[in-house]
């Protein structure tokens, strides 16, 4: 028996707990007394906490939620358990667009990155549709992977021919929250505050689409219209996340599946649940990335891949 409300409450508490841990632990552990004091600008920990740790934690929360939501929306429309922004190549295309723009115009403001990444995501999706049409799940996933390989190879090429700082390069190769300050939070916040609630309005069409296209039409929604709207929203969410943190993999695949097992397939539970799980996953990955071997830092994308790749493998074996 599934009790979605209870599950969501537990998830919310877990997120709060991990948030608290993320604030405390890092290359330096702060006690609660330290934390309280560090909020004063005069304190020696002020910079580390307020300028460094807080923005990236907030960003992890937002980006994790956005990526998970994007996965839910894509899976809702395509009806393919393997579909998710990273498998379809959207993430890497958005990343490629961002890194390309940054290399061509080094002085570019981060404000523009989400828009450029969105264009990249749209192009990638159009290309995938052009190449795949309505293919079977495995074939669509394979084409997505092939396109991803293309975008990744171009990114690699750009990166190798214009050497960057190593953390910077890693960010664009695997996704990371390294060095993300308040400026990035301010860029993400308005978009995500607009888009995340908007998706809750789409619960009904999503539920109906899950019944199949014919059923959905009979029940009175314009299927094509709804699908296009939902996909646009999904691409926008993925693109914003990637523009800020690089192509973080497997959260958009993993979170929807996990949530579906916990709260079932109704979207008014699934959407908030997936956002919480996505946020939880990315917060945990970032926390681990910062604390495994301080002061060195792993990119969070490496950790999400270590969890996500085996899951993808397992999913693959079950998909027919």
């Amino acid at each position: 028996m599934k009790k979605p409300a209870l599950t969501l409450a537990i998830l919310l508490m877990l997120v709060a707990l991990v948030l608290l841990l993320s604030v405390r632990y890092g290359s330096e552990t702060l006690s609660f007394a330290d934390l309280h004091r560090a909020l004063q600008p005069a304190d020696s920990h002020y910079f580390a906490l307020v300028e460094y740790r807080l923005p990236r934690i907030l960003l992890a929360l937002l980006v994790g939620a956005a990526l998970a939501l994007s996965g839910v929306l894509v899976q809702g429309v395509i009806g393919n358990p393997l579909a998710s922004p990273e498998i379809l190549g959207v993430n890497h295309a958005a990343g490629l667009m961002s890194i390309g723009a940054l290399m061509l115009f080094p002085g570019l403001s981060v404000m523009w990155l989400p828009l450029l990444a969105f264009i990249g995501a749209l192009l990638a999706f159009a290309l995938l549709r052009l190449a795949a049409g309505n293919s079977a799940p495995l074939r669509l996933a394979l084409l997505g992977i092939a396109l991803t390989a293309l975008y990744a190879s171009i990114t690699d090429y750009l990166m190798l021919s214009h050497p960057l700082e190593i953390n910077q390069a890693l960010m664009w190769l695997t996704g990371s929250l390294w060095g993300r300050g308040w400026a990035f939070v301010y860029v993400a916040l308005p978009w995500l505050l607009l888009l995340l609630p908007l998706s809750l309005l789409l619960c009904r069409p999503l539920d109906l689409l899950a019944l199949g296209e014919e059923q959905a039409t009979t029940l009175g929604i314009n299927v094509r219209h709804a699908q296009q709207l939902i996909l646009l929203l999904a691409l926008a969410l993925a693109a914003i996340s990637v523009a800020l943190c690089g192509p973080l993999s497997f959260i958009g695949l993993l979170a929807p599946h996990l949530t579906r097992r916990l709260v079932g397939g109704r979207h008014h539970w699934l959407i908030p649940g997936a956002m919480l799980i996505g946020a939880l996953l990315l917060l945990l990955a970032d926390l681990l990335a910062r604390t495994l071997h301080p002061p060195l830092e792993l990119p969070a994308g490496v950790l999400t891949a270590i969890i996500g790749a085996p899951y993808f493998f397992w999913l693959l074996m079950r998909t027919r």
């Binding site: 393997l82 190449a131 079977a136 495995l138 074939r139 996933a141 394979l142 084409l143 992977i145 092939a146 396109l147 390989a149 293309l150 990744a152 190879s153 171009i154 690699d156 090429y157 990166m159 190798l160 021919s161 050497p163 190593i166 390069a169 890693l170 695997t174 993999s249 495994l292 071997h293 060195l296 830092e297 792993l298 990119p299 994308g301 490496v302 950790l303 891949a305 270590i306 996500g308 790749a309 085996p310 993808f312 493998f313 693959l316 074996m317 998909t319 027919r320």
Partner: protein, 331 residues
């Protein structure tokens, strides 16, 4: 298909290989080398000029390693595609490259003294074999009724995991992570005679061995059942061929890093050129592989001259669109 005209079928690629080999000895050198000096350096006699020494000590081993690498990876790709009857099978897509690199990186993080000579090639082969075993066993790779895409996606998933672990190990254990990124892209900019001698025994032993399996593998192209009725012991053959593949890939990765897409593309080129008979396909594949690797290395030098890019990055740029095309063409 050129199998009807043997002179063109064999002479063409051979001439191409010779031409590109010659080109690779002198072109795009920071210190100008004359095209004639490149040849005169190869003739016996005393080396007097700097450019001749450059050819002998830098260019020649590099080009020879490129030839061996290309031939080995091409053969590995041909064998894999025959064995799995999957046109997308290749060392990079099935996770062998990624497993081999992971094994190397982990070993060097624990004990750098191991990273030399033949032991590292064997280690890389073991890592590659392990990751491939995971793909094949868990992915039900021998199940011919299953969807062909599944095996490849499984390989990609295992590769992603190995790549993530490799990056994590590198970042935690190494000081100069940037150089390692060049290595992970796959390239031969650093090779000298030592790497050539490290690679040579594997190639000399394994490439003819692979050819000896060719006639039996030809029967495997039909179906498992018909191969069995014709008296092939499937399990034994698979094990041996797998061993050859894994050792070939391991030796290549240990010298040049994970070079992607060569093993995927060359078998298709060879098949289109000479037909499905593996006894002909394997040697032609070796020629094509060598040409492609030399070409990629030349390109890698040319596009960023006087700096250099890893040849693997160039191959990925060429190979990824072909990969998309191959996925679309099948099924």
């Amino acid at each position: 298909m050129m199998s009807g005209r043997p002179l063109i079928a064999w002479g063409g690629p051979l001439a191409l290989l010779a031409g590109i080999f010659w080109l690779s000895l002198f072109s795009w050198s920071p210190v100008p080398i004359g095209s004639w000096q490149a040849i005169s350096a190869l003739l016996p006699g005393k080396v007097s000029v700097l450019s001749q020494a450059l050819v002998l000590n830098l260019r020649l081993p590099r080009s020879l390693v490129a030839i061996l690498l290309g031939a080995s990876l091409a053969v590995a790709g041909c064998l894999l595609q025959t064995l799995t009857r999957n046109p997308l099978a290749s060392p990079s897509l099935l996770g062998i490259n990624a497993g081999a690199s992971l094994a190397m990186v982990v070993t060097s993080a624990f004990d750098p003294s191991w990273v030399a000579g033949y032991s590292i090639a064997l280690l890389a082969a073991m890592g590659g074999g392990l990751s491939w075993g995971v793909v094949m066993l868990l992915g039900r790779g021998w199940d011919t009724a299953g969807d062909r895409s599944r095996l490849i996606l499984g390989g990609v998933a295992v590769s992603a995991l190995c790549a993530a672990l490799t990056r994590a190990t590198l970042l935690l254990a190494e000081d100069h992570a940037w150089g390692i990124f060049h290595w992970l892209a796959g390239g031969i900019a650093h090779v000298r005679w030592r790497e050539f001698w490290q690679l040579l025994p594997f190639s000399i032993l394994l490439l003819p061995l692979a050819w000896l399996f060719a006639s039996r593998l030809n029967l495997l192209q039909l179906s498992d059942d018909s191969a069995r009725t014709l008296g092939i012991r499937l399990g034994q053959l698979r094990l041996l061929v797998n061993l050859v593949v894994v050792l070939l890939v391991g030796s290549c990765v240990s010298v040049a890093g994970p070079v992607a897409f060569l093993g995927l593309l060359v078998p298709h080129m060879a098949r289109a050129w000479i037909g499905n008979d593996l006894r002909l396909m394997l040697p032609i594949g070796m020629l094509f592989g060598a040409v492609l690797m030399l070409l990629a290395d030349l390109l890698a030098r040319a596009v960023a001259f006087p700096a250099e890019l890893p040849a693997g990055a160039m191959l990925a740029l060429i190979g990824a669109p072909c990969f998309i095309w191959l996925v679309r063409r099948r099924t």
